[in-house]
Subunit: 311 residues, 2 copies
DNA sequence: CATGTTAAG
DNA sequence: CTTAGCATG
């Protein structure tokens, strides 16, 4: 095992130089200046974040990051690329990129050293995978249904399938709970099919907090999207097919560990959050999992990134 | 003739103190304004703007300002109130305030010392009049048609009617030219009715450049909204009923005098503008007009303010 | 290119 | 509260 010391790859899709600048100072109007001042002071880092793996004691060979960026173009202005460069993961899974077409993808997002796969479409959440190693195969969305939802990318590697996804949100007043449950059925079936061939790593925003420990206000959210019995049971069912929620496996009693905080009500400062983003892996793959870290203080979205360390 | 030396009014709708920092509550003559050393430097002012009436040689009793603010809440962030306090007009006409309801009006907009009249509605341009002297009567919109368009306010004073309006834009591809021409018909009729009783001052964005001298690129805009033959003839027709375009009357040969510049193409820096905003007055009232100044370097909107000085 | 609006989260 | 989309200018 080595400590993330891969040789520099040749640039696969982009021949730009990597800029030393932190943020390219895009011209702004007077009104934007206020906002940008806050963004500018490296937006999403603290000193302790700088050595980003300072708390990872064990060796690891592979690092995977997943982040619901809630609009990649906005997140870009808040330091997305600088964070990703610092994280230097082998595989980057982004969701809710909210980019409607290929030609709207800012070129800065296509970080050199990575192959870039986007599954995007107008009005849809959109997901992306950036990967240093070229996958054997990459496919978009589910095979039967929701095939134009731009919610899921499957990347097949030598030793596993990586399924990065943004699961259907049950919506205000649970108005899309039915669609969500239909998604669960098709998704579970799809995952099980993959699992017959190779271990599966599911990464992304599963839009559910599994248990009371996974959100700040379980009592008042019994009928809120993300904590209904139906959604929670759906997550239990997924695990029952032979999968493990890596974070909870590693930190079974850890309270206050969330990955999402509403932009409203100053929720992040008060840590009134939800754990909605996960790495879920095939049981037999758990032995390869070294750690799963929630990057709580990386800003730029209403979600924070999660990192999975593999040996 | 007095020099803008009205007795201090009692505060009509708001009991806040008027800050000495911005404008002394005591009225000043134009000369005193010139001599006073105000400290607050505004985002949208230049040194020569600071003594805002420096170029008005004659005495005046009344000052009226009209400004298409292109969103009053945005303009507020860019110094709208500071400018208005500095201008210290007797009557302020704002259009395109783009505020959908009374409760969305920021309280800072309700400048003490003025009575405030808003004609606003969801999705409509919206207009407002602030006035130090309470009008005899204030009415909204045209009497027959477009009565819910929130485009026009009529304030009746002792000596004149003031009609502040935002005229229908003929639209991209002239798709609302018909509506515009229908507006012209009803508007002309309305103005003529008022003119039978008292002189009329029309103030606002008339959404037309009358002649080639009134825009930077007349040749290429023959079929653009604001410079079609139909709209130009409409303006000629309005004048034919006995009205005068005060700016052109005072400065018949002045080129490059515009009141609007597209936000696009760096138009303002290049002065590729249009004269779309006017004071148009009854012929018999012209003797009361001292000057009409275009405040070219007041920023905050894609239009600039216009000031009418009356004796 | 900017504003306010909407729908989604 | 924030984003991206849209319609209007």
């Amino acid at each position: 095992t080595k400590k993330n010391t891969k040789a520099a790859k040749k640039e696969p899709e982009n021949d730009e130089e990597i800029s030393d600048e932190i943020v390219s100072p895009k011209k702004k109007t007077a009104k934007q200046v206020n906002g940008s001042a806050e963004k500018k002071k490296l937006l999403n880092s603290t000193e302790s974040d700088y050595n980003i793996d300072f708390n990872i004691k064990k060796d690891f060979a592979t690092k995977i990051v997943t982040w619901n960026v809630a609009g990649a173009r906005s997140c870009l202005q808040k330091g997305l690329v600088e964070y990703l460069r610092r994280e230097n993961a082998d595989i980057i899974c982004l969701n809710e990129v909210k980019i409607g077409s290929e030609k709207e993808i800012p070129k800065e997002l296509k970080i050199p050293e990575y192959y870039h796969y986007f599954n995007i479409g107008k009005g849809n959440p959109g997901v992306a995978i950036f990967t240093k190693k070229k996958p054997i195969k990459v496919t978009n969305d589910l095979p039967e249904i929701f095939t134009n939802d731009n919610r899921l990318i499957t990347a097949e590697y030598e030793d596993f399938y990586l399924v990065s996804c943004y699961v259907v949100n049950a919506g205000q007043g649970l108005k899309t709970l039915d669609k969500r449950l239909e998604w669960n059925r098709v998704f579970d079936k799809y995952i099980q099919e993959l699992d017959k061939e190779k271990p599966v790593i599911i990464a992304g925003d599963l839009n559910v907090s599994h248990n009371e420990i996974d959100l700040a206000n379980p009592k008042s959210n019994q009928r809120s999207a993300g904590f209904t019995k139906e959604e929670r049971d759906g997550f239990t069912k997924l695990l029952s097919y032979g999968f493990i929620d890596t974070f909870r496996e590693l930190y079974p009693k850890q309270e206050g560990a969330y990955t999402f905080w509403s932009y409203r009500f100053n929720a992040r400062a008060k840590n009134t959050g939800w754990r909605l983003d996960y790495f879920v892996v095939s049981e037999r793959f758990m032995e390869n999992v070294v750690d799963n870290v929630i990057r709580t203080n990386i800003l730029g979205s209403d979600h924070c990134p999660l990192v999975l360390f593999l040996n």
